[in-house]
């Protein structure tokens, strides 16, 4: 593997890692918070926004998403969008599914794994 490809795949790995962490943290934060519809019905839209913004997990998740965005820009600075976009988009589906099973203890049955694989392949084809 040449240094250039190593560099490209390191940045792709960084984008996927931060995007997965962001997704899992935001999902975990929302789950802990409970049904947002109920919160909004009880304390209004402002109350719901306040509840979301006071969730530590959500804030760390958003920070990860921002890091992911900047890693993406960094990755794009020396590699083609036609490689970066399908690679990061589709890999994130697989890593998020695995992380949701491991960290959020979601019931990822055969059906959901198949869905993740199909969607991953589909997104890779679309993003080229």
């Amino acid at each position: 593997m040449s240094p250039a490809t190593l560099h490209t795949w390191t940045t792709i790995f960084a984008v996927v890692l931060t995007a997965t962490a962001g997704d899992i943290l935001i999902a975990g934060g929302m789950r802990k918070l409970g049904d947002l519809d109920d919160i909004r019905a009880k304390s209004g839209l402002l109350g719901a926004i306040k509840a979301v913004l006071s969730s530590g997990m959500f804030l760390i998740g958003i920070t990860c998403m921002a890091l992911s965005f900047f890693s993406l820009l960094f990755a794009l600075s020396d590699a083609d969008l036609s490689l970066i976009a399908p690679a990061t988009n589709s890999l994130t589906f697989i890593t998020t599914t695995a992380a949701a099973k491991f960290f959020l203890k979601e019931n990822v049955d055969k059906r959901r794994w198949l869905a993740a694989l199909f969607v991953c392949a589909g997104v890779a084809l679309l993003a080229r």
Binding site: D37, A100, L126
Partner: protein
């Protein structure tokens, strides 16, 4: 546990799918009007904030984020994520029939794979129930 969704919740999921794709399409139209932005001239991006296309795109994407987080508050991420991918299908249809862009055969194959993938989860339960968490009643 089979966990069915109320019509209202399906509506939120539809907003998740449509929001991302319509928002992206609006941003793309706005950026097309603006022309290419080079890395040496990033300040041109601030001009984009004056475009009504870009502004409406950002507003739609904020709506998307709100519906996405609402969906995550009552459904698994492994259920919601394929739904967001369905947005790509809508983007492809929009770029074909609204923006009249050329859509290659491999992209249509991608569309088909995503539709099949989403079909797999849409029929399943939306949420994993963990011991100790009350199962809410669906009206």
């Amino acid at each position: 546990m089979q966990h069915t969704l109320t019509p209202r919740r399906w509506l939120v999921l539809v907003a998740v799918m449509l929001g991302a794709s319509i928002g992206d399409a609006l941003l793309r139209i706005g950026m097309k009007h603006l022309g290419p932005v080079s890395l040496n001239n990033l300040s041109a991006l601030f001009l984009a904030l004056k475009s009504p296309w870009i502004i409406s795109g950002i507003i739609v994407l904020m709506g998307f984020m709100a519906s996405y987080m609402t969906a995550l508050s009552w459904a698994d991420i492994t259920f919601v994520l394929p739904a967001t991918a369905f947005g790509n299908v809508i983007v492809t249809l929009l770029s074909k029939f609204w923006l009249h862009e050329q859509v290659s055969r491999s992209r249509w194959l991608g569309v088909a794979l995503i539709v099949i993938g989403v079909g797999f989860v849409a029929n399943g339960p939306s949420r994993t129930e963990h011991a100790g968490i009350e199962v809410e009643a669906i009206p």
